[in-house]
Amino acid sequence: MTLIELIKDELKEEDKLLLSHLDFSKNDNEIIDSVKLAGLLNFDNNYENQKTK
């Protein structure tokens, strides 16, 4: 059993959701993509169409 599995039951639901994406067989960027897909992270500005003064 992994350490993450050992602590799982002690976490809140939102943390469990995050934990479900932490597949450490993937690299950080792949995990981030997964978390982004779940809508938990966003590093892209979707509000472009800006104008400058």
């Binding site: 992994t2 050992l6 002690e10 450490f24 500005n45 509000y47 800006q50 104008k51 400058t52």
Partner: protein
């Protein structure tokens, strides 16, 4: 998986050239006379014996390199430029090769080692008073973190932490990029990011409608402020400001009359008095008497209804001829006629005046001067209209004036051509214009008064301050409205950044939970772990004066250090770890190692023990050999390396299913020699080889091999067979000397010189492993070997 052979060790550490089959493949006849071949391949348990410097630990290094899948195979010191070649054959006959690197990592993490590194690096005390410092741990080496699953747990924690840092960094970058998009605007607006964020609620509800009105308002406020500043500078000029004058607005065709003693206003009609005239005859008469009108008037006053004689020429008035003349004259000098003529003249005069005032209409010159002065100090939005007729209107008025003048000179003649209807329109329009003008004047004058009052009452300063505040608020408002879209987008990005931050916080929570959990797990784990160590300590060394060996586990991630796991040794309640002897330390180290093996879940490992008993007494050597047999049996394979003959013997006796190997260094190259297991002792095996020496080649290599074997047999046989050197108990040693050995001592004493001569030959120059230049020959060696055999020790 097991290792079957190290079939080639070429230019690796002290193994300059070693070919397994060349050394160990031997053909022999079995008891039935059949020719057999044996190659001495590794079995489950393998025991290596070698004196120091022969290549024992170098072989361990080869295994370590396989375990780490590293290319850290040193070249032989005499073959730095030569290629390397290692060939490992596994029990499924697959090969692993090394030239510059290992061909596969199939043996990576496959080994568990016990050696000096384990003792020095991994086994340590937690120190007195449970205080341990990183420096102390550093001095002793790394901490034990690989126990149980804690290496994996550690890397899990590191991954979560690294992942958290990665997200944090990405989020910071995201935040910086988003901020950089509005930095220019913040600079323009002279506001900080914090101020902008504090105004978020206001900005989000702003609307673009009315923006132009706000801009106009701003211009107005700025103009007002400018004027207020000017007013504050020129207060004396303000007190001298005058009011504007209203324009003349009496453009009316009305005239006041008294009718029945009542005064009333009536509108006169220029058409009527312009068309006023008398009969043609009257006009001619008037023309005739133009210069004697008074005279005629006096005469006419003397004529009555009964008058028959002309009062002027005293002739008789012929009724028919003169009656009409008299009548005309009477009409001329009639009172009504006179009054009417006078009235017409008045009307003509008034009408002309009206026309001239229209013609001369203009803005009061003074007003504009006043207004220009006032406007320096206060904003006057009202615009005074220009009081003037159009050119067409002026032409009409001029023509009408000429007409009126004409009428004045010929009052009894009818004058045509009046433009009275147009004049009336002009009067109406002009009246409207002037009224409007005056209304504006009436609006401006109170402002002038107010300005003067404010200047007198010192209110201008307050007004200036209020104006500045209003300008600032309005400017901000316009700025935020203008850039609302950009700011709202930024706010959304800030929200996203906060959402991302929550994930970082959640990861931090997970990270902390993992740290707490690993400490809990670790402390639970080591209690059990150290109770096993305690048991092993007692088993290895029942007499050791250690009352307690307990685990101390801590897990401080503040310095990103791995878990600390050490032991605490107390005697009478006092820590005594610092006063441990090397032997005691090694007992604990070995106990640690056995506990580790016991806890190891994956039994498909190869166990390597490199001289585990260097500081042990006889009893501990024996108990160690017993424990190895007991604790390692479930693992795939075992390799024990020792330079200790006693421990070697214990291992050979205690460990089942074992092969025994002797490592020699010949001609500068280490080599592994299999010792057949049907021989009770090594020297028995070697003696069998000596008997076959005539069938062996007289190579330099064989000179060295046989020379070493001869020395080993001579020394070991005498030590063990005569003196019981390999016995662990004194009673056994005495029994050996007094019993079996007693009969032999005579032989030993009688052949003392020859024995020492052979031994001296083997130790010549202290280099028994090397042929002597020129002097040593295969025949010399064979002679010594045969002498040894003939002694029948």
């Amino acid at each position: 998986m097991k290792i079957k052979k190290l079939s080639k060790l070429n230019n690796a550490f002290s193994y300059s050239f070693f070919d397994w089959d060349k050394v160990n493949q031997i053909n022999f006849n079995d008891k039935d006379g059949n020719l057999k071949t044996r190659d001495g391949a590794f079995v489950k348990n393998n025991i290596f014996f070698a004196e120091n410097g022969n290549g024992k630990s170098k072989l361990v290094n080869v295994f370590k390199s396989l375990n780490e899948n590293k290319n850290n195979i040193e070249k032989h010191r005499d073959r730095a430029i030569d290629v390397q070649e290692i060939e490992v054959i596994l029990d499924d006959d697959s090969e692993i090769n090394f030239s510059t690197s290992w061909s596969t990592d199939s043996l990576k993490d496959k080994f568990i080692f016990f050696d000096k590194h384990f003792i020095d690096g991994l086994v340590h005390s937690t120190g007195p008073n449970n205080i341990d410092t990183p420096q102390r741990r550093q001095q002793r080496g790394r901490n034990i973190v690989y126990l149980g699953n804690f290496a994996e747990y550690n890397s899990e924690i590191d991954r979560v932490n690294t992942f958290k840092d990665t997200i944090l960094e990405k989020n910071n970058t995201f935040s910086k990029i988003e901020l950089s998009k509005i930095e220019g605007l913040l600079s323009v607006g002279n506001i900080t990011n914090q101020t902008l964020l504090s105004k978020r609620g206001e900005i989000e509800v702003l609307k673009k409608d009315g923006l132009q009105t706000k801009k106009d308002e701003l211009v107005k406020l700025e103009t007002g402020l400018e004027k207020l500043s000017q007013a504050l500078k020129d207060k004396t000029k303000i007190s001298a400001l005058g009011s504007l004058l209203e324009a003349q607005d009496n453009f009316s065709l009305k005239i006041k009359t008294i009718e029945n003693t009542v005064e009333k206003e009536v509108e006169f009609n220029p058409t009527e008095f312009l068309s006023f005239t008398v009969a043609k005859g009257v006009q001619q008469t008037l023309h005739k008497i133009a210069h004697k009108k008074d005279f005629i008037k006096q005469g006419m006053e003397k004529i009555t209804d009964t008058t028959t004689q002309c009062p002027f020429c005293e002739q008789k008035i012929k009724e028919s001829d003169y009656l009409q003349i008299i009548k005309d004259y009477q009409e001329i000098f009639d009172e009504t006629f006179s009054r009417e003529e006078k009235n017409i003249k008045i009307l003509l005069f008034k009408y002309k005046l009206l026309l001239e005032s229209l013609r001369d209409l203009q803005t009061p010159v003074q007003n504009q001067i006043f207004l220009d002065e006032v406007k320096k100090f206060v904003t006057i939005d009202e615009v005074l209209p220009v009081l003037s007729l159009s050119e067409d209107q002026k032409a009409i008025i001029k023509a009408e004036i000429i007409l009126v003048s004409s009428k004045e000179s010929k009052i009894l003649e009818k004058v045509d051509g009046s433009n009275i209807e147009k004049i009336k329109i002009i009067i109406t329009e002009t009246t409207t214009l002037v009224t409007s003008y005056n209304k504006i004047v009436q609006k401006i004058n109170p402002k002038i008064k107010q300005l003067k009052d404010d200047a007198n009452n010192g209110k201008l300063e307050t007004q200036k301050s209020d104006a500045e505040t209003a300008i600032r608020i309005l400017k901000d408002n316009i700025f935020y409205v203008n850039n609302k879209e950009i700011f709202v987008n930024y706010f959304k990005a800030v929200d996203q950044e906060q959402e991302n931050k929550k994930i970082v916080d959640n990861l931090e929570k997970i990270y902390r939970a993992m740290k707490i959990k690993i400490v809990e797990e670790f402390n639970t784990f080591i209690i059990d772990y150290f109770s096993i160590i305690q048991d092993f300590v007692k088993e290895i060394s029942p007499s050791m004066e250690i009352l307690e060996v307990a685990g101390e586990g801590s897990y401080n991630r503040n310095n990103r250090e791995p878990a600390l796991c050490g032991f605490r040794i107390e005697y009478n309640g006092q820590d005594c770890s610092n006063s441990l002897s090397e032997g005691e330390k090694q007992v604990i180290a070995l106990a640690f190692f056995f506990a580790h093996l016991k806890k190891e879940v994956n039994k498909d490992k190869i166990i390597i023990l490199d001289d585990p008993i260097t500081s042990f007494d006889t009893g501990k050597r024996k108990s160690t050999a017993e424990l190895i047999q007991k604790e390692v049996k479930d693992f795939d394979q075992l390799f024990i390396f020792t330079c200790d003959p006693l421990f070697r013997e214990y291992c050979l006796k205690q460990i089942e299913d074992r092969n025994f190997y002797y490592i020699f260094k010949t001609r500068g190259s280490s080599s592994i020699h299999y010792v057949p297991k049907n021989k009770e002792t090594i020297f028995t095996s070697f003696e069998e080889d000596f008997k076959e020496i005539e069938n062996s080649q007289g190579s330099n290599e064989n000179v060295v091999i046989f020379g070493q074997k001869l020395r080993f047999c001579l020394e070991t046989k005498i030590k063990e067979d005569y003196f019981g050197y390999s016995e662990d108990k004194l009673s056994n040693m005495i029994e050996q000397v007094a019993g079996k050995g007693k009969k032999k001592f005579e032989k030993l004493i009688n052949n003392k010189d020859q024995i020492l001569q052979i031994y001296s030959y083997c130790n010549t120059g202290g280099l028994a492993h090397y042929p002597r230049d020129g002097a040593t020959s295969w025949n010399e060696l064979k002679d010594k070997v045969n002498q040894y055999l003939s002694l029948n020790l």
